[in-house]
Amino acid sequence: MQASNRWFIAVTIFLSMLLVVMPLPQQWLWFRPAFPALLIIFWVSRMPQTLGVGFAWLVGILEDLVTGATLGTHALALAVLAYFSLLTYQRTRAFNPAQQLLWVFVLVGINQVVGNWVHGLEGKTVPGLTFLWPALTTALLWPCVAPPLLRVCARLHIR
């Protein structure tokens, strides 16, 4: 991987961390999209040869440190997410936008289920399926984020 690629990926991860801690009103907190998960799906399906489970795990550890969650929570969830994106990236590239949106919902949903499982171990219970809201908002955000990011990648010759 070229140095410029590495820089660009680092910048996107940094921005996603900013968005993760951005202050939101209390009642909107559940609807915050899972920005790091979105980026993991994007980068892993974009560069499956170089970025994978380990990369996602490191981003997860970073997110744990930033949000103050118990160490390993997001790391585990993002590693699982990266694994499923690695398995399916060849198919998802051929998906049309609606299919992609649905698939992102499923992937981030898996991510949320793992995160919710760890929360459950800590004794923090969530009413019903509330924990799936971020999956929905992330999926809706996907068409607004992925194509522009792809265009920037093309301009910067990132492959």
């Binding site: 801690v21 915050r32 499956p48 380990g54 440190l65 103050g68 969650a69 390993g72 790391a75 590693a79």
Partner: protein, 280 residues
Amino acid sequence: MKPLFTRGPSPESRLIALGILSIALFAVSYYTDWFQSTRERLFDVVAPLYWITGAPERVGDWAGEQFRSREELLEENDRLKRRVLLLEHRSQLLAAVKAENTQLKELMNSAEMVDDRVLVAQIIGVSPDPLEHVLLIDKGRNDGIDVGTPVMDAGGLLGQVIEAGDSFSRILLITDSSHAIPVQVLRNSMRAVAEGTGDLYRLKLRHLANTSDIREGDILLSSGLGGRFPAGYPVGEVMSVTRDPGKPFAEAEVLPRGRMNRSRFVLAVIGDRGRGLASK
């Protein structure tokens, strides 16, 4: 295209290895505090993220301050002056009461009350996790804050420090569902434990005897039991008491006095560590 799995172990084995590592990390940080000091050091590195994302709000506040009219400022100044006068008057009365109290305590041979040292800190962020009530403030170990330092605002107790970096710290609010604080009723010194509910405007007193003397409007103070919080700080006000004869215990709902959602500046009570209990 390069063959996919030529370098290193396969994604499956990586996932399994990292999964086990994550669960190990999780277990270690849940059951022990081995990572506490490392986390606190790294926390100083990540806290500026919160500071950056809070910047637009601060700029808005600053602009609001800058563009206020002269009349408004004069009026506010006048109001504040009157308030200071009032508070000074009250604190003078308190000084007399305090001196008398100290004298009485000396007569009873009990430990002397120590003055609490108070530090003003600014809230720079809120935890993004909707399941926990955690605030970040811009003061840390360099300013004398330590894990367990109680934090309050003008209304009452807010919470305690759970992670203290060098210049930033994290506060767990008393309304967090994992928090509980020993309290006593101001009117009759009855003791209870106020648990957080995960709702910013509600605490709960559980396991109250059905016959206990508690009613709507009672003020709850921290009791100092447990040695974590100093005694005598206002915690909340009883909103309702549910006495169901079919149940072994009564329950009470409490409105916290501290403004969990709205405070900008908070007071960290440093000094007086661990003496709240001794002085009782």
